[in-house]
Every structure is written in C-alpha cells, then in structure tokens.
C-alpha cells in the first residue's frame, strides 16, 4: 500500500472531494453525508494540538474540523482519537515506528499558542510515515474569530501536499431555499454557508422567487435573478456588506447571469427583442453586446475558464441542446457549434475549472440527470442515477460537482465526483434547497 502512493493518486486524481460535514454540529444548517465513498482512503493520524499558554480556549477545536474535512473528502480515513498510539506535538517527539505498526500513511501534529487576548498562533508539521520525513511545517497567526477558516486552511494544505490538487475546504456555497410560511405562501432565501455547512447566513429574504446565483471570480459578489418586482430582474450583491444593486430591468426576461472570467462583464439572457438571446453586459459601462441571434430559445451561458468560448443552451434544433461559440474581445467569431447529441435534452452547461469538462442537465427517457462531457474526446458520461437533477456547479478545484435534486419529495443538494464514484448528500433542516453555486477559491491561501 505504502509503495503505491503515486499510482493511487493518479488513479484517483478525479475523485478528489472537498466538502462538508458528517455530523450535525450546532451551527450547521446544511448536513452533509458521504453516501458512496472510494475504497482505499488514505490513513492519516491527526494528533490533538498542544495548547501552549492558552488561557482562553478557542471557540472550535482545530483538529476536529481538520478530521471532518479530510473524512468528508472521501480521500482520507482519519484515525479515531481514541486509537491514537502516541500524542507527539512536534517532529522531535515523533517515533515513526509507532505509526507504521498501525499502518498510518500520514501524521499531522501541531501546537497552538495564545499571543494576546484574541490572538493565537498555530504551528503544524505533516509527516510521511513510511519515508520518515516531514512533508511540510508551517506556522500561522490567527484571531479567535477565524478559527474555522484556519482549520480549513490547514486541511487545504494537507490535502494539496498529499494529493497534488488544491483543497477547496476554505470555500463557500451559495444556494436558494424555499420554505412554506404559515400563510401558505413561500418564503425564499439566498444563503451562503462554509463548504462544511457551517456559518449559514441569509443574504437575501424575499416572498418572491430567487434564481441563478453566480459568484464573481473574486468571491466577493453574487449576481442572481430576483422576482421581487413580480418579474425577473438581475441584481448584483456584495456578499459581505449586503449592498446590492439592480443591474438590468429590460422588458421580458432578465436571467441566467454569469460572470466573465475577468470579472468585468456578465453574460445573461434577455428577451427584450421579443425572444431570449444571450448578451454581454459590461458592468462598468453598462454597455450591452448581443451574442446570439436566433428565433429559438438561447439561454444559460457559461464561459470557458480562459474566456475564449461561450457555451449555451438552445432549442434551435427542436430540443434543448448545448452549443458553443468562440469569442474574441467580447465578439462572437464563430458559428454556433452543437456540442451534445446524446439524449433528447441537454441544458445548463457549466465548464469545469480546467476547461476540460462541461457538466450539464441531461434528459433521456424522461429522467433528468447530471452528465459530464469531456470536451476534447466529445464523450458523455452520466454521473447520477436520479430523475430530477438540475443546476450543476463545480467545486473550484474541479473535484466535485454539486447539484440540486429531489429526495423524498424535498429539494436537496447532492455532490458527485467527476468520475461518478463519490456521492454526497446535503440537506437543510426544513424546506427545499436548490441552485447551489460553489464559490471560487479565496485569495487567503
């Protein structure tokens, strides 16, 4: 086993996971469960960190958060605390033989020191047990209020050092919930939560439907569709200040906003001409450029990560399918090329962060499932086995696709690895949850 790390990781390169939590802690409104994991998760021991001169305990235990992150990923099998064979806190006291005996591949140890009233420092070391070597050793200062972020950051480092792929623990998910109010009317919330389901916050509350949240590339803003004036309009909201503005209110549809990779424009669907077409809206100048012109429905634009291509849904062939155009300086420079041919319905395409895959809603024989198209080989793989899936969104490291589905007559979120092997389920305590949008990686790394 220990000899095969390299092969193991290349084989499971696409299996990487990045989410959520397996228990229901006090502040988690989203509950996350791994429903199908991968065989052969990596054994790792995370020893509770020493507390040096810590007079005020941290609000959360760093090591529990790290263990939860790693376990949830499906890639790691953290050793239960009660089974730990030793409790070293730094390299000087680690005896690799102890850990080899219990078949641990990796070991994480560390110390927390209190520096001031709310100031702390954490130092940690990650070891390759078989080689008997330190993989990395880092120390970070942090404030008590950032304890969870600090723990996710450590998880990200462990994950990246061992798998070679960036972690996505320090990210957020935006989603829409619909809850039946006492009046029988529905109440809609646009929420964000940490990728482990903690810190759920409602950033918009409306009695009218909310749709299509889309993160800006810097993770600071969300564009979305709100029906608050009884018609669909596009808004942009600062996630952390709550400041918002309506960006479009044309006659007809104002929908499907997505940020361009450079963050300067939104691609969107407008039907002001009488028919849904895709436009580019430059945020600074409010200049509109029409990108499609066809009497069919054209909607659901998605950018390739390098901004050179735009994929959209169109029923110009009679049924909704995905089409692609090439862009140069915000102008379409190619005829629309049809991308999907399998199944009678392919819509809501979204590019993977590396641009190699497009996830979509794939309808075949009355079932609507999440499928992924490998762009270069043009092969389509259906990843899910349900019948009412929609709204796929990639984790920013490309490991997982989060999507909305239906379970026991409730709207729930689920996630699947790009190879279809790892499945997770995310549920809110009440109501329906839909339209997940995974935030980009933050700059805080």
């Amino acid at each position: 086993m220990q000899f095969s790390h390299k092969t193991f990781f290349s084989r499971f390169y696409l299996v990487l996971v990045a989410l959520f939590i397996s228990t229901t802690p006090a502040h988690a409104a989203l509950t996350i469960q791994i429903t199908t994991g991968v065989d052969g998760a990596q054994p790792i021991a995370v020893v509770p960190f020493a507390q040096d001169q810590v007079k005020t305990a941290l609000p959360y235990d760093l090591v529990s958060i790290i263990n939860n992150d790693l376990a949830r990923s499906g890639r790691f099998a953290p050793m239960p605390e009660k089974d730990l064979v030793a409790r070293p806190h730094d390299g000087g006291t680690v005896r690799f033989g102890d850990w080899r005996l219990v078949s641990m591949d990796y070991l994480l140890v560390g110390r927390v020191r209190q520096l001031g009233a709310t100031n702390y420092e954490v130092q940690f070391q990650l070891f390759d047990v078989f080689k008997g070597e330190q993989i990395t050793g880092i120390s970070y200062p942090f404030v008590a209020g950032d304890t969870r972020r600090m723990a996710h950051r450590i998880s990200d480092i462990v994950y990246e050092k061992i798998t070679g792929q960036r972690g996505a623990f320090n990210t957020r998910i935006a989603y829409v919930t619909a809850l039946a109010a006492a009046t029988g009317k529905r109440q809609y919330h646009l929420n964000i939560a940490d990728s482990d389901g903690f810190n759920e916050q409602t950033i918009l509350d409306s009695s009218q439907p909310l749709m299509s949240p889309s993160w800006s590339p810097d993770g600071q803003q969300l564009a979305y569709v709100s029906f608050e004036e009884k018609r669909p309009q596009i808004f942009v909201q600062q996630v952390f200040s709550g400041q918002r503005q309506r960006v479009t209110d044309f006659k007809g549809l104002n929908s499907a906003p997505v940020w361009s990779p450079d963050g300067k424009s939104l691609a969107m669907t407008l039907s002001k001409s009488g028919n849904p077409e895709i436009y580019l809206f430059e945020l600074a100048t409010k200049q509109l450029t029409q990108l499609t012109k066809h009497p069919a429905i054209d909607t659901e634009p998605t950018w390739s990560p390098d901004g050179s291509k735009l994929v959209f849904t169109s029923d110009r062939g009679g049924k909704p399918q995905l089409y692609m155009v090439k862009l140069s300086r915000n102008r379409v420079v190619s005829r629309p090329q049809r991308l999907t041919f399998e199944g009678e319905y392919n819509a809501r395409g979204v590019f993977s962060p590396d641009g190699k895959h497009i996830a979509m809603v794939h309808g075949n024989r009355g079932r609507f499932q999440i499928a992924v198209l490998e762009v270069e080989s043009n092969t389509l793989q259906v990843l899910t086995d349900s019948r009412l899936d929609e709204s796929p969104s990639f984790a920013p490291n490309g490991s997982m696709i989060i999507y909305a589905t239906n379970r026991n007559n409730r709207g729930v979120l689920a996630a699947v690895s790009v190879d279809g092997r790892v499945h997770q389920r995310l549920e809110v305590q009440q109501g329906d949850v839909r339209e997940p949008a995974w935030s980009p990686l933050t700059n805080a790394q």
Partner: protein, 186 residues
C-alpha cells in the same frame, strides 16, 4: 357544460383559422409582430363568436349574480391554458377559452391581463423560464389575433418557480405547464 361545448364548436373553426399559422411552429410565435391591421381583422372576423360568448354569459347570469369572469358556468371562468412538455403549442381544446377572453378584451377596452407563463419542474430552471415566456407569448399572440390589443396584454414568465401543484409526477406536472390569464382590470 353543454354551453361550453356548443361555444367551442362554434368558435373552433374561426380560431383555428386565425391562430394556426402563427402558433404551429416554435419560431414564429416568439417574434411578436405588432401588426395592428391584422389584429383588427382578426377581431372582426370572429364577430359571430362574440355573440356566442355574450349569450353564454347572459344565460348564466340568471342563476349567477356576478361578473362573467367569476361565473363557473361561463367559458370566461377558465383562465388557465395547459401545455405539453417542452411545448408552447396551444391545444385545440383551449382555443375556445382564449377566443372568449380575446373577445371580452376586445369589447372591454379598459380590461387588461397579465399572461403568466409557467413550466413543470423537469429540466433546467433557466431554460424553463424561457419556455414559460414562450408559452405566455403564444397565448398573447392568439389573443391579439382575436381581438385584444397589445396594450391590454402583459406577459411574464415564472418558469418552474411558482408551481400550481406541489408534486413530482405527471399529475402535478400537467397542472404546472400552464399560462394563467390574470385580470388586473376588468
């Protein structure tokens, strides 16, 4: 019920004549041609149908004290048009209803409606909002051809966001693929 059928039988041929060309395909229905001339022609052409609709309202009025739009015996009482999956084609059985509303709007020039397009939950949400709009515009187009004027008609699509029936089977879906004719003023 008999009245409804009778009215439908009388109206159907005219409605089909005026409606088929524009609504049969997916394409033409979307590009709204604001051609007042042909609308007026359409309205006049269905004059005989107008009498039929009025007669129904008057008869029912003897038993029902209220507005024709609220009278369960009146064809104007139906204000929801249903569709097949991923389709905006108006079914024959709904043409009489649309005809009656078009004539009502033609005679009551201050009346105005919102045509609210909806879809079932299957497929993607953003495609569905476009589909709901296409359905609302198909109904709008037929209303225009049969006597309503553009200023009386407003369209909005909710896609799958505002279902009439909660459920995840064909029973619910068929109730949700609809256009609601909502009178703002009568």
């Amino acid at each position: 019920m008999n009245h409804k059928l009778l009215v439908a039988a009388v109206l159907l041929p005219t409605v089909m004549l005026s409606g088929c060309e524009t609504l049969g395909g997916q394409d033409g229905g979307d590009v709204v041609v604001e051609d007042r001339g042909s609308q007026v022609d359409g309205g006049e052409g269905t004059g005989s149908g107008n009498d039929g609709a009025t007669a129904t309202g008057a008869q029912a009025g003897t038993a029902f004290q209220g507005h024709a739009l609220d009278n369960p015996q009146s064809i104007l009482y139906s204000k929801v048009i249903y569709f097949a999956f991923d389709s905006a084609a108006i079914r024959n059985e709904d043409r009489a209803t649309i005809q009656a509303h078009a004539e009502y709007l033609g005679k009551n020039v201050r009346a105005a409606v919102v045509l609210e397009g909806h879809s079932d939950e299957r497929g993607s949400r953003e495609y569905n909002i476009a589909l709901g709009e296409r359905r609302a515009k198909a109904v709008r187009q037929l209303l225009l051809f049969q006597g309503a004027v553009a200023s009386q008609l407003q369209t909005v699509s909710y896609g799958e966001e505002s279902p009439a029936a909660i459920g995840h089977d064909e029973d619910a879906w068929q109730q949700n693929r609809r256009v609601e004719i909502i009178y703002k003023t009568r």
